[in-house]
């Protein structure tokens, strides 16, 4: 059986007021676009934390799309500006980590731009197909490793084992 062609997996964080509504419009307008993205609606693109982007990569995403309001249109005045600066820095970090910065894409999509949303999705899928799968595994950047969390359980387990042996 021939190997199935690579289909990139995308996590799309879409703001509720603009990009999310734009994606809805693309759907209700019956505009065809690739179904590679898992959309996650957030109240504002400014709510998207860099940690979420990395968590998406850790969970097997090949690309992350963040959709927000056009400059000046943010429902919360400046959330999109904050996320733009964060994503700019995050891309610099990704470059140093050896992950192509193009795997993170920030787009301004208004509620009326269903066609733009579809175009962005098509472009992103093509781009990610060129980049190929991201082999990050579960592990590259992990939260709160270190003894404070992960090893607590194993320490407790060891203690319990010892207690049982002792008694």
């Amino acid at each position: 059986m021939p190997e199935a062609p690579f289909e990139p997996r995308i996590v799309a964080f879409l703001c509720r007021w603009c990009a999310g509504a734009g994606a809805d419009l693309a759907g209700t307008s019956r505009i065809a676009y690739p179904s590679n993205a898992i959309p996650i609606r957030v109240n504002c693109s400014g709510r998207v934390e860099p940690e979420w982007v990395m968590e998406a990569f850790r969970s097997g995403a090949d690309g992350v799309l963040i959709g927000g309001c056009h400059p000046g249109d943010c429902h919360y005045v400046s959330g999109n500006y904050k996320t733009r600066r964060r994503i700019y820095l995050l891309k610099k970090l990704l470059g140093e980590l050896g992950i192509a910065p193009e795997r993170v894409r920030l787009e301004w999509v208004s509620a009326t731009e269903g066609a733009k949303f579809a175009r962005v999705m098509k472009e992103f899928v093509v781009q990610l197909k060129e980049l190929g799968p991201l082999s990050v595994g579960r592990d590259p950047l992990s939260v709160n490793r270190g003894p404070s969390s992960e090893h607590r359980e194993s320490v407790v387990a060891e203690r319990q084992r010892e207690t049982r042996v002792g008694t």
Partner: protein, 339 residues
Amino acid sequence: MSASQPNTGLPQSTGYGPRTTDHGSRPKIAVYWTGGCGGCDVSFLELGPALLDVLSQIEIVFWPALVDTKRSDVEALAPRSIAATLVNGTLRTEENVEMVRLLREKSQLVVAFGACAYQGGVPGLANLSSREEILHRMSGNGFHPTPPPGGDAEDAPPELLAQAKSLSDEIVVDYVVPGCPPMPPLIGLLFDALLSGDLPAPGHVFAHDKALCEECPRTREDRVLTKVVRPHEMVPDPEVCLLDQGMICMGPVIRGGCGAACPKAGMPCTGCVGPTPNAGDPGLAMISALGSLVRAGEEGAASFAAEDKLLDALVDPLGTFYKYSLPAYVRGAGKRSDR
């Protein structure tokens, strides 16, 4: 605690009970170094007079930096006969791993002592290069990991691990004393717990859970970052928050407990105590914080280019944010396919 004690700025005597000469009843303590610089071993001296109180109540069974003990001495000990082993340094060679596994077996408690043992430390930045690249560079400089002339094969230096690791990558770690090197107040907390027997829950980090900013005496005024300045480029105002002045200070995401030693001295926090439990990954938390703080004029599309230029002055986010924690947060850097 007598009033006649000189004010050294160091912690006062811990006031541990009468000194005993009965070595047999003292808890056995081991201190070991792996891929470290030796600074952690020296840091005990900073306890000042309190060190005498500590030493009078413990028995040192193994401490290569201080006393003449050999690996065979440790091997001869009964399992779990060492009360606590303090390990400093990153795990870099196969020998490091063998030794910490041996010490784990012989110890009731193992403490990651210092930033390297906790999260990989500065030597962990070597993980940006592969083992082969590192060895190539070393052999290019004339170093060959082979036995000395006429020596046995076992005299060769131990094999380098593929990656530098933190202590908890190999063995169960009970407690952490963070810092590069650990500060006297934090070391004091550890011995206080060890000697009183009032032990915290496993996994405890002997530092504050709140951010460094909480104990920093500097005042925040603007709460914006309008430029990025590196420490050698300016002499900061002694009163004002370093972030306000454009220095990339990790204070917002790093644990307090060190007494804000660096910010008090005009240097931005570089994060040696490790992130607060709430911050999680220090680099991503800092990106989040800086994204909120950066301003290049009025916010809006017209400022985007200026903001990017401002952020470009932060030349090395990875090295800045993960200076002490690369092995803990970034695995397999330097060998990913996208590179």
